[in-house]
Symmetry: C2
Subunit: 411 residues, 2 copies
């Protein structure tokens, strides 16, 4: 398994402010990895409003089942996340492990088991030995502190080459609030939620149903707009928590309340920031690719076509090879199955139009296009020329390193 | 570009008998390649019945448009195929090139342009210089001979590492008939017809509509059951020709005629033989993978799930790494979106059941499974345990060589 930092990693991390009411801790429980932290706890001083989005896999992990069951109560006191084992496809043992972990977490956090949230990431199909949490949870609850976001993000990494954090500020009704988030990703990343765990917290006072609505609105342009390898995890989880500790801000109950406009924009920007960090750490990624489809029949069709391009192994290997092989983009548009008229199609790499009206652009320069392909960030645009539908999907190239990482992940 | 023979190549080629009424020729027109043949002509002594199947791409190549337009007449006199340039996404120039080629071919074969069939394979988006055919077609028509199938199959190769031919015999109403076929594939291979050109000829006397029905029936279990990389070409074409030269066999007009039973079986076996040869020459392939899904809600659902497994980069890289990572099979079942019950799912690698009732099979031996994974031919079976739907899809592993071949194909 490679450990080299992705060349697309951020050059620096933002200072992560404290979120009032949120404390974090990590521990090394030896679940799979040696010499690193593999458990992360986020504990709330008082019960926080919670919202969540989960994988659409028909074979979800035990922690996903567990969180889904707790979500209707809308209140969270503690989140426990482990890396190294996904507790997915572990049968009755999987539910037993979440139940045992929840019981221990509830005890140390002083809450009901229905106020516990859990997530696990790592190998599928291996039973998770929840007893390993027994030795660490009490200590974590005692040590947890507000200024610990980057360390927390490190504990949930699997094949990630860098931790992913982001922060934003917003105003609600004149009161300044803060939003922090972390994510992990790297492989098994596809829409319908990237294989991704992401945890967001804010000191804003927002009722759970409104928080859920804001979170759901943002996912299409963020976590569901990224794809590394078209594979969808059994464990995808995004949770958002609102502690309501921002001084003097009255709780807002309705997502359509205009006082949430600034917060909504900040939350969605935060989600997109985290989602793009996941793509930029795609397994083996050397280049980030933005696929922009315009002129499709409608937005839905544009999205299908953009995903077809972004998931095409032939397009992704061409990008890896710095080859402006726009014929493969035509292929991917054609195979998407959505309405297309070959003779109205135009394709750009960066700002260079390489094809127009169904054939090679007579003015296009191979040399200029090659220069674009040598960049680290590549934009591929396809205009269908038949309507006003548009969509943007983010992906990375497909390299030999992806194959190497995934050819011996378990061993 | 690698030129090493696929380790999955056949150890020998079958002797290809003559098909009465069919003659073949090849030439080196210098379309793209140097020092090899790149044009293939199949010419019929008298007009043959013809049937065809084409890509479902919304951006088909000019030759696909051309063949589709000619097919209703049901008669063919000559087929001209070139490698090195797909004449796809070439706008008006594309249609001009097929028209010019058809005119030349019709002249040398002494037929109407609507009795000409064309196929092109290679780079997309580069105009095809049809004038290059001008220098070779007349000579080819003169030289064409019956005993030339293997050489003909070589002329249509692109990144294929070996030519693909197959032959079968059958009886119709007591008369022995022969079926020969050739194919090319290698990359951009996915269902909805693999990127594939395949040409089949028989001396049987079968009317075009019946031949079309037989061909269409067979595609689901053959050309549409294979996938290399989930990418669908703009140029996929399968054509079948029946010369009717088998002595004393009366033409059969109805595909449901029981006298066609033996022929039907032979044709479908031939198609499957050619399709599997294409998978076994998948770009960079080191292992052949048969994905067998049983117990699904219905056959359609089984097919979607089997394709989800067969197209998953994570499953394919695990096979490349000889890793029995059945958790990724669970993932692929889950992401397919079809009905699945995690706790009824069972998974086999070869004949070793690795998972049952939603968790790891307690009896499964990692050592035995590793031995299975070291084989060249791997069968992955997933039983959904909820119905009687089943499907089989054939694919290959995803290796660093695939990335290497496709990262610099155009350069």
């Amino acid at each position: 398994m490679t450990t080299a930092l992705s060349p697309l990693a951020p050059k620096s991390y933002p200072p992560m402010p404290a979120i009032d009411g949120v404390r974090l801790a990590t521990a090394a429980a030896g679940i799979k990895y040696k010499n690193r932290t593999d458990v992360m706890m986020m504990v709330f001083d008082e019960k926080a409003a919670v919202a969540g989005l989960f994988t659409r896999s028909k074979c979800p992990s035990a922690p996903v089942d567990f969180c889904r069951a707790n979500l209707p109560s809308g209140k969270a006191k503690v989140l426990v996340v482990n890396s190294g084992n996904a507790n997915a496809f572990t049968g009755k043992k999987g539910a037993a492990a979440t139940s045992m972990t929840a019981k221990m977490a509830a005890e140390v956090a002083g809450c009901g088991e229905d106020e516990v949230y859990l997530a696990s990431t790592g190998v599928i199909g291996e039973p998770l030995d929840a007893s390993k949490f027994g030795g660490v949870l009490t200590g974590m609850a005692g040590e947890a502190k507000a200024d610990f976001w980057l360390e927390a993000a490190k504990a949930i990494m699997t094949t990630d080459t860098y931790p992913k954090v982001a922060t934003r500020g917003a105003e609600i009704d004149g009161v300044a609030v803060t939003l922090n988030g972390m994510a992990k990703g790297a492989g098994m990343i596809a829409p319908d939620m990237a294989t991704m765990l992401s945890f967001i917290a804010t000191d804003a006072a927002i009722a759970a149903p409104a928080l859920q609505a804001l979170l759901s609105e943002g996912v299409g342009q963020s976590f569901n707009a990224v794809t590394v390898d078209s594979d969808t995890s059994t464990s995808d989880t995004v949770l958002a928590f609102a502690t309501g500790k921002a001084p003097g801000q009255d709780e807002i109950a309705d997502a359509s309340d205009p006082r949430l406009d600034d917060f909504r924009a900040a939350l969605h920007a935060l989600m997109k920031d985290l989602a793009l960090q996941v793509v930029r750490d795609g397994e083996g990624a050397r280049k980030m690719v933005t696929v922009n489809v315009t002129g499709a029949e409608d937005d839905r069709a544009a999205n299908v076509i953009a995903r077809s391009i972004a998931n095409s192994p032939l397009v992704k290997t061409a990008v890896a090879g710095e080859d402006a092989n726009w014929g493969r983009v035509v292929m991917a548009v054609g195979k998407a199955g959505e309405k297309a008229d070959r003779d109205r199609l135009a394709i750009w790499f960066g700002d260079i139009r390489v094809a127009v009206d169904g054939e090679r652009d007579p003015d296009y320069s191979e040399a200029h296009t090659s220069a674009v392909m040598r960049e680290q960030d590549i934009t591929i645009r396809a205009d269908l020329g038949i309507g006003s539908g548009q969509a943007t999907v983010y992906t990375c190239d497909l390299t030999k390193e992806y194959v190497a990482i995934n050819g011996d992940y378990r061993s």
